[in-house]
Amino acid sequence: MFPKVPDQHKTGKPLVPNGLGVIYVLFTTVYLFLIYFSRIAPASNGVSAPLTLAVCILFGGFMGLLDDWMDLKWRYKAFMPLIAALPLIYLAIENGLRTSISLPLIGMIEFGDAYYFLVIPLIVMIVTNTVNQLGGLNGLESLCPAIILMGLMALSPSHLILMLGPLIFWLILAGVNLQGKIFVGNSGSFAIGMNVAAFAVITDLKLPLLISIVPYVVNSSLILLTIFFAKKRASVSFDGKKLVSDHRRSLVTLITYHRPLTERQVVAIISLLVAFFTLIAVITSML
């Protein structure tokens, strides 16, 4: 049913079904529609949070499918999530969400209207694209966003129900993905990225999100800076058992730089890194 791609980091490069993230998109959409119909999360000020989230995830999944199909250029991928920011901006304005962000040491930064029209689109654009960029290893693109999502859910018990079902479903997919039996594809990574960003905006958890995605931002910064300045791309070598690299152009190559590690080990290290930052985010928010 799904298109198959070779698993580059396995001996014999077996073909693995790709794009299973789309099942997550469909499941989450149905789940959020059910939440809406059951009136568990009623509309606030005329705007429905479950439907807003559903629209964002649908859009993320749709964008991922287009990427899988047409191999979208980065200039399109970078800015397409801005469209999905529209429902979030509307929700934020109608519900009068806080337009300030409290940063440790710096204090409160008041953005005013710029929060709606600048900060929210930036959050959506950055999170969606950075999540999409950190992938390529079995389990990496599914486990890390799940960790961030769990952190955000822990900080917002009132919105827990919105993501409970999708998170469980995503974790099941992540488990299978970790075993190398499926790939979630761009449809999955864009959808989950959009999901994380949209959930953080809806629950007004901007600071925890910003702290949690630090490893993602580091990864994307390394990739983009190398492309812009050195015009080189990150690539990791696979000797049949372990991954190793001779440069530091991404988070994966940074970890495997002259240090052969198995795919599982790399995924575990990055996941722990994300978990660490998510923990800091949770503690910072609770303080």
């Binding site: 298109p3 439907l51 529209l86």
Partner: protein
């Protein structure tokens, strides 16, 4: 015998319409879309049936109704030919000067009058107002069917169907073609779509010359109809001119273009200049002059096509440019060229409007906020953008037109909320193209070979049918989320929120609809019925201009102002009456021979801070929310009022800030002494006080500020004053509308002033 019978039956069999299965499905889908379009638009009738009548929505449709009524009663041209050709002056409106009804575009009332006469002749007995109310529903549905053909020409039946569906559900278009919205846009959009359909067919080089001629004539007739229907015709005229000009720049000139252009515009302008109210001056207006310029350019290109010497070509080109520029300058300098119509220029430059509170006070004239546009487009903006992308990639003549239409109408819509309705057809077409552009490869995959190679960084070699099915399903879900469960509308379909609301007068001007209003609100209907039964047609009632049409047409009294806003001085004077202290207001009222004054207020009950009693306070949907415009508009004429002795320089005002301030602590408006002595404050305050006395006392409700009986205004009839809090809660979600009619006590005034 049997054989003959069988053969005879076979003859009947041959009469069957031969059509493909695909066509049946397509036309069934179109019929379903038209049914949806009609049903949604007729929904407000649910609140009209219990009242036993079907009225018109908002305010402006009443103007069109009175014209239609005149045409039905006295003949189609009667509004233009009465009074020895000077036209019909309706003295029941804009007393004492009256409203010159001959300064009206005739297409809408004439069409309605003709159709009404036909159905009456056929024996259908229907009230004219009910007919006019249903008219936009029918023509809105017709617009959707024309949209199907426009879309079909653009890219096939599927695009036509999607475009028709989107137009049927487009919020701005829906609002302006729903039951009761008997206004110029209704026929305007029909004319616009008919013109686009026929003009693009006329310039199509693949059609025969005969067909091209027929479509050119049709396009000309449609454009003339549009010009006679809606003031926004300038937009379409200039869009078509711009389109032809761009075709010339793209080196796509053809004889067919010259022929179609000249025939279309020649016929359209010939008919248009003979339409009552539109004179020959229309041809020299700034917005129509470019038609001649482009025509000359086309003629020049035709001449240059022929085998003539380079010297002659240069001479001809120079002479043509000199003729165009010289003619333009000459017309301008000699004063023959008219300015571009006021509203049109204010659309091009919306900042002009912000300087005029009279225009800005109308919500639909304001600059569209991004929220208006998002509410209109929803996530459909994704498909709109992809539609632009696919259109740009394939710049055929039709697509060039669509791009120009989309870009210019988006600018207009961003400039003025009302013009979102012009953008709606462009959006629908582009969104349909976008959706089909995205879905086409996946749809093809579903129908054809099971596997197709695609390129990807992950080297996906094959895409299965199921995968394509999922893409199609995702797009479907996006459409569902956009149309059926729009998050920005709390999950309620956007069209439902837009259409399932009563017409304004049946909701007593309250923002209620759907399940929140079980039955029509009676307060305004009661007031209009009371004035109709108890006052003379010639009795002058002063009210803010929003209620002018209701009072004059439904209430059958004479009014000073309405939404026609033809006399800004008179509106300033009415603003003065409401904002000035009573004595000064009476001096102005005397000028107008007014016998009554009317205010409308909306109230809501809240618990007191200690919870021991309840407080009734204004909500803002009535004059308590409009008085700031009264202050601003009348404040513009401050010097005139001082010079004419109506008020002293010390007591005169500029805007609402002279009547109070917004409290820093509560955020509520706090009236100062000038505000508390204003007529509107007293009239509204006393209406609230009377409601509290009549209906509030039993429920321990007191007004937030004690109202005092005005000196020169006596309570005549207060509709809604007997609506108790329990009924208000059950019927109107706690809102209490009070329409207060005061009799002006001239005796007391003359006694006091001598």
């Amino acid at each position: 015998m049997k054989e003959r019978l069988v053969n005879g039956l076979k003859v009947f069999g041959r009469l069957r319409i031969q059509t493909s299965h695909a066509s049946i499905i397509c036309y069934s889908a179109l019929l379903l879309i038209l049914f949806i379009a009609f049903t949604i638009r007729i929904l407000p009738i649910r609140w009209e049936i219990p009242t036993g009548d079907v009225r018109l929505n908002e305010f402006d449709p009443y103007y069109q109704f009175s014209l239609t009524n005149k045409m039905v009663q006295d003949g189609l041209f009667s509004p233009y030919l009465e009074n020895d050709g000077r036209g019909w002056i309706n003295y029941q409106q804009w007393y004492p000067d009256g409203l010159d009804m001959s300064r009206s575009l005739p297409a809408l009332p004439m069409t309605a009058a003709v159709l009404y006469s036909i159905i009456s002749w056929l024996g259908v007995n229907v009230n004219l107002m009910a007919f006019c109310s249903i008219f936009p529903v029918i023509f809105g549905t017709i617009s959707c069917s024309i949209m199907y053909f426009v879309g079909k020409d653009m890219g096939g039946k599927a695009i036509g169907l999607f475009a028709a569906l989107f137009l049927a559900l487009a919020p701005s278009f829906l609002q302006r073609t729903a039951l009761g919205f008997f206004d110029t846009e209704v026929l305007g959009i029909v004319g616009l779509l008919a013109f686009i359909l026929m003009f693009l067919r006329a310039i199509d080089g693949n059609r025969s010359l005969r067909s091209s001629l027929i479509y050119s004539v049709g396009a000309g007739a449609a454009l003339a109809y549009f010009i006679g229907a809606w003031g926004a015709a300038y937009f379409l005229v200039d869009l078509a001119v711009l389109f032809v000009f761009v075709l010339i720049l793209l080196k796509r000139y053809s004889q067919r273009l010259l022929l179609s252009y000249s025939l279309t515009f020649g016929l359209a302008l010939l008919i248009a200049t003979n339409i009552p109210y539109i004179s020959l001056g229309y041809l020299t207006s700034g917005a129509v002059i470019p038609v001649a310029g482009v025509f000359l350019l086309l003629c020049l290109l035709e001449v240059l096509r022929h085998n003539i010497s380079a010297r002659t070509k240069v001479l001809l080109t120079g002479a043509s440019f000199a003729a165009v520029v010289g003619g333009f300058v000459a017309l301008w300098q000699l004063g023959y060229m008219q300015d571009i119509a006021g509203k049109f220029i204010t659309v091009l430059d919306p900042f002009i409007r912000s300087a005029n509170p009279l225009i800005e006070s109308v919500a639909e004239h304001r600059i569209a906020a991004w929220g208006n546009i998002y509410f209109e487009l929803g996530l459909g903006i994704l498909f709109f953008l992809t539609g632009l992308y696919f259109t740009l990639r394939n710049p055929t003549n039709r697509n060039v037109f669509l791009l120009l239409f989309g870009a210019t109408s988006l600018y207009f819509a961003a400039s003025m909320v009302r013009l979102l309705v012009i953008f709606a057809p462009a959006f629908c077409l582009l969104a349909a193209i976008g959706i089909l552009g995205i879905l086409k490869p996946f749809y093809t995959l579903l129908r054809e070979a099971p596997q197709i190679a695609v390129k990807s960084k992950r080297r996906i070699a094959r895409v299965s049918k199921e995968y394509s099915g999922i893409v199609i399903f995702l797009v479907f879900m996006l459409l569902v989320a956009n149309f059926a469960f729009a998050p920005q509308n709390g999950g309620v379909p956007r069209v439902y929120g837009q259409a399932y609301a009563p017409i304004t007068v049946s909701a007593a001007s309250l923002p209620l609809g759907g399940a929140n209003l079980a039955e029509p609100a009676q307060e305004w209907l009661d007031m209009l019925s009371w004035t109709g039964n108890n006052l003379q047609t010639t009795t002058v009632v002063c009210a803010w201009w929003d209620y002018g049409y209701w009072l004059s047409i439904l209430g059958n009294v004479t009014t000073l102002a309405d939404n026609a806003t033809v006399n800004s001085t008179q509106i300033e004077n009415i603003g003065f009456i409401f904002m000035a202290p009573e004595a000064q207001a009476m001096a102005m009222l005397e000028k107008y021979n007014a016998k009554y004054i009317l205010v409308f207020t909306t109230l809501r009950i809240a618990a007191s801070s200690d919870g021991s009693y309840y407080v009734v306070q204004p909500v803002g949907f009535g004059d308590e929310g409009k008085w700031s415009w009264m202050a601003r508009i009348s404040g513009q004429a401050r010097d005139r009022f001082i010079q004419t002795g109506f008020i002293s320089a010390e007591a005169a005002w500029t805007d609402e800030k002279d009547f109070g301030v917004v409290s820093n602590t509560t955020g509520a408006w706090t009236w100062n002494d000038a505000g508390k002595s204003s007529t509107v404050y007293k009239l509204l305050g006393y209406a609230k006080q009377r409601w509290a006395e009549v209906s509030g006392t039993e429920y321990n409700v007191v007004p937030d500020e004690t109202g005092v009986a005005p000196t020169y205004f006596k309570e005549e009839y207060f509709a809604g004053v007997d609506l108790n809090p329990i009924d208000a809660s059950a019927k109107y979600g706690g809102l209490i509308p009070v329409v207060a009619l005061y009799e002006i006590d001239w005796e007391a005034y003359y006694a006091a002033t001598g």
